[in-house]
């Protein structure tokens, strides 16, 4: 190589090195920013959901504590009236029925908002209660299987409970399924929630692109908040499988 070529070669080397440094810096900065972005996103999502759950908890308590006793009181007060005519007796009986319906409905709404069992007896008991409270008239029969689970922090339990609520409601509304199987198992340091139905399935690419695919997005958000991931397997006519894997936090 003559001197001319050597100097060109050196030029190439130097410019390559400079370009390399610029690229490296660029990549490092991207990664750093992306990490910060992730954290911020996660925090805002957490805050949003916490707010939501607080609201729900408040509504559930208000219903239970304020309206409940009032309704009972009304019922008893009405019962204490002296009724002398048959038509009046019938009217009072109707009133009783209405109050009973009110209380029943209130109980449903309150449980939907935030079931007491979740805090008191844990996730598994709450899920079993939720499933056994589903109307018998549904076409879908839901089975719940679980293995022995470690104790979960309340926030995690609530998220998982909501996820299952959402999945069950989605299945009832859209899937036309006969059977829905929900499995909650833990293996090693992971908790796996599996839901499988034999319904009509859906094309998730289409669904999640639609802005109404809020259901899927919700599930995804909650799974992400738990530090885990949501996996969806579904095809038209082939049923739907949801798998949610979340890492188990060791108790500190």
């Amino acid at each position: 190589m003559d001197a001319h070529q050597t100097s060109i070669y050196n030029a190439i080397l130097v410019s390559s090195a400079i370009l390399g440094i610029i690229m490296l810096y660029f990549i490092a900065s991207i990664i750093y920013q992306q990490r910060r972005n992730r954290l911020m996103y996660k925090r805002s999502l957490e805050a949003e959901i916490e707010l939501l759950e607080k609201e729900r908890s408040r509504i559930a308590s208000d219903l239970h504590d304020d309206l409940g006793p009032l309704l009972s009181s009304i019922k008893f007060s009405v019962g204490s009236l002296d009724i002398f005519s048959d038509t009046d007796t019938r009217t009072v009986d109707r009133v009783y029925d209405h109050i009973d319906s009110l209380m029943f409905r209130m109980r449903e709404i309150s449980a939907d908002m935030l079931p007491h069992t979740l805090g008191r007896k844990g996730l598994v008991a709450a899920i079993e209660e939720f499933i056994s409270n589903l109307p018998q008239s549904l076409a879908v029969k839901t089975h719940f299987e679980h293995c022995l689970l470690p104790e979960l922090p309340v926030t995690q339990s609530i998220h998982l409970y909501r996820i299952i609520q959402e999945i069950v409601h989605n299945t009832i509304k859209h899937a036309n399924a006969g059977i829905l199987l929900i499995e909650l198992k833990s293996s090693g340091d992971q908790l796996v929630l599996l839901s499988k139905d034999n319904g009509c399935g859906f094309d998730y690419k289409v669904q999640s692109a639609k802005s109404q695919g809020l259901g899927l997005r919700n599930l995804n958000s909650r799974a992400e908040l738990l530090g885990g991931k949501l996996l969806v397997e579904s095809a038209p006519g082939k049923g739907t499988i949801y798998i949610i894997e979340i890492p188990l936090l060791t108790k500190s």
Binding site: M1, Q5, I12, S16, M23, N220
Partner: protein, 223 residues
Amino acid sequence: MNFMLSVVCSMSIVIAAIIGAWRFKNINAVFRPFLFCLWLGLLNEIVSLIAAKTIHNTAVNGNLYVLFESLLLLWQFRRWGLFGRHRAVFYLIGCILLLVWLFENFILFSIVQFSSWFRIIYSFIVVLLSVSMLNRQILVEKGPLLRNPVALLCLAFIIYYTYKVLVETFWLYGLNESSTFQTKVYLILDYFNLFSNLIYALAVLWMPTKHRFTMPFSSPAPS
């Protein structure tokens, strides 16, 4: 000595190719174009070795290879959803690549000759597409970016093909005189080739399996 080094660097693609073949059934179909590209690359390296020993001219297989490589990569970006609804852009770029290649290899020069124009143009296009795709991944990826195979591949593309543009441009300006000079310059590119082949291997290792795909806009996570 330099030749051996060069061969080793190029053949390093075999690692990624083997991992790809071993995991092929499990990998989500979205990554198939890239896998085909890997295998084609391996094939090209082998053919080049043979051609170098026999007819002493690797231009034909080289020129054919870059055409297919460019089209496969373009197709891969489409599979990844980069073009979204703008299918026209995809077809446009494809046509441009094809026309430039035909023009260069049959009209301007000959297919048995090496020339730089097509290589510069397609490398440039790949870099731009990779930058766009990487930006999308940044917005969407919730986990560590470097574990995302799409991001990894885009990074590798950006690094390698930028250098390729650089070297081929220098080439264009008639600096193909002595063979020592050629080999030394190509050696730079070979190191980057090695580097990116290793990144490819890592990416293929971390490619998500079939069915394990959540939203189209969120990245396939390593499983």
